[in-house]
Symmetry: C2
Subunit: 356 residues, 2 copies
């Protein structure tokens, strides 16, 4: 775990680089870049021989970080990109102007099949725009949703969409449901994932115009296990595996999840400091509490895929540390191995997708 750690493993030259899953990683994106990003990449290649990482970013800075570690050097390549897109920049403009940024460089590698996937903790807006503009959508996909895994009492659920697709149409939500179902079945390994639509009541006639229009369309889909409406109250209980909603609602759910968990934990901690008795108790419960809260920490689940693109783009949290970056990189292997994009293509062409 030390800054100068690493796996120290010797490179196996026998291993054919061409068989590896190639993941471009934005070394400059996020609050802890390049340090934690580089460490995450090192950890990933130390754990898995079947990954080839391309770190896009300012060569000097990236190499300075890489030098701290011992790792199979042939599994990591630095791809120089001198520009950095900042979080506050208008996404469309940034993608258009900063051709030499770490984000545009990584996305272009995916576009040109030099990489299977791109992982970034950088500007969400730039990644969403760039994913569509540079990598491009799978034919038939109307809007690519951003789909993070959120922790629940029973494990994790996929929240789809949390991206920039506000004011979505019913046909978009139907595609989100299908893509989300494929992802949960083949990447998360959930058999016949339960798919539900976020609503303000359990009954079919409840909801806003969008939900009311989408509900019957989802009921007609024979290729998903649609279980009806889900009230936000039931989400943390893990009542559904795929939580379908448009991006505004999804963003509110994701952000409130983060905010409320952190506030509640703060309130509990403060409460524990209120008396000598509880302070003593706090010392005793600390290890158990830490372990518990970790299982309920959204950040450990390795980032949110932007589904429906001609390649994989994964957005990790801006505050990502090495463990999240590593998990996101490893997630790309499962995605590729399980041929998720081929399954999405197949489903959208052959599925019973008759809406609009």
């Amino acid at each position: 775990m030390g800054a100068d750690a690493g796996c120290g493993e010797e490179t196996d030259m026998q291993e054919d680089m061409r068989d590896r899953i190639k993941v471009a990683v934005d070394a400059m994106g996020g609050d802890h870049a390049p340090r934690e990003i580089v460490k995450g990449a090192v950890d990933a290649v130390c754990e898995r021989k079947d990954i080839q990482v391309f770190l896009t970013g300012q060569q000097d800075a990236v190499e300075r970080e890489l030098k701290k570690y011992t790792y199979p050097t042939d599994q990591i390549t630095v791809v120089h990109a001198e520009e950095v897109i900042e979080t506050a920049e208008p996404p469309v403009l940034a993608i258009r102007k900063k051709k030499k940024s770490s984000i545009v460089t990584g996305l272009t590698m995916v576009k040109q099949k030099e990489a299977d996937a791109f992982v970034s903790a950088g500007s969400s807006g730039a990644i969403l725009v760039g994913g569509q503009v540079i990598v491009g959508r799978i034919k038939g996909v109307e809007r690519p949703p951003l789909a993070p895994l959120i922790p629940t009492e029973r494990g994790v659920s996929l929240l789809i969409d949390c991206g920039a697709n506000v004011d979505a149409r019913p046909s978009h939500l139907v595609q989100f449901a299908k893509m989300g179902s494929i992802y949960m079945e083949y990447v998360a390994g959930v058999k016949h994932p339960k798919v539900a639509i976020v609503n303000i009541g359990a009954e079919e006639e409840k909801g806003n115009a969008l939900v009311k229009e989408t509900f019957p369309l989802l009921k007609e889909c024979r290729d998903i296990n649609f279980t009806g409406s889900i009230e936000a109250r039931e989400i943390p209980r893990g009542a559904a595996d795929v939580i379908v909603c448009e991006a505004f609602t999804g963003n509110v759910i994701l952000k409130l999840y983060e905010g409320l968990s952190s506030t509640l934990l703060g309130v509990v901690k403060k409460g524990l400091m209120s008396s000598l008795r509880s302070k003593l108790g706090a010392v005793l419960i600390k290890p158990a509490l830490k372990k518990t809260m970790k299982s309920f920490d959204a950040s450990v689940y390795g980032g949110a895929p932007l589904l429906g693109l001609q390649g994989l783009v994964v957005k990790t949290h801006g505050s990502s540390k090495a463990v999240e970056v590593k998990n996101a990189i490893i997630q790309c292997v499962t995605f590729k191995e399980q041929k998720i994009n081929e399954k999405i293509k197949q489903n959208l062409i052959d599925g019973d997708n008759k809406e609009e």
Copy 2:
């Protein structure tokens, strides 16, 4: 606190009943009716001499409960209503057909100025529909919002709207902001309450069509302290006093607040049982934890007012116990004393409300 408790205070016949705030209370609504509702009413009149409660519901059942307590009997009147509207009933039909229900009876008393306010833990749909149809809106109010207080790190915030007004228009949201601001200033006692609109980013250009249209209108309102967008992450921190959103989003926020708090607490409790050490610690922290969690429990804040009606209608949580019912009843006194409806009327007529 025992079932047969009460305040045992003698009625002060000097007290003029006509000076009291008259609150109709639905004795049949909610999961714990009539027991907890009646107890809440008794507790309210024991605490305050200036309240006259009218318990609407099945006379026998209500009187059976009342007999358990000693209280100033002239402060509680039972108003017989033989029918009960169930939560699952379609609201519009229920209000139309069940004229003798406890809800319709209570709302009619408000309409006919026999009561200043109506408090119910019953069917949200029926209360929202009945409030508009029976009590009626204040002239100029387009849609009456349901506005619960939610707990935050710094106290409480008003979440407006969580009602049935899905697919709201910008002009509705502007009215919500104004009414919410008046409520927080004069009922909750917050000076110049900070008003923010729920959004998926802090910048003005972010958001869905509704938020983008509403934002400039709110900026123009000189009678509120509009502070811009609020991301859901910031809500639990108490970053704004009045959280403006349309009902679908508001409902998602409210329900997720409930669900996530309860799930997290469950996860923490389970974690504490994982080792002998943490079990011991759990015993020590229990009182402090209980106290802390209580301060973060949405249910103690006494119900959500349905604002903008010609009278006051307050919806308390379906799971309300005596303390919430009591708090909701007492809240009605402040509402009436502070002349909130007069202030709303004044504001909508004289305010700088130039939208649509």
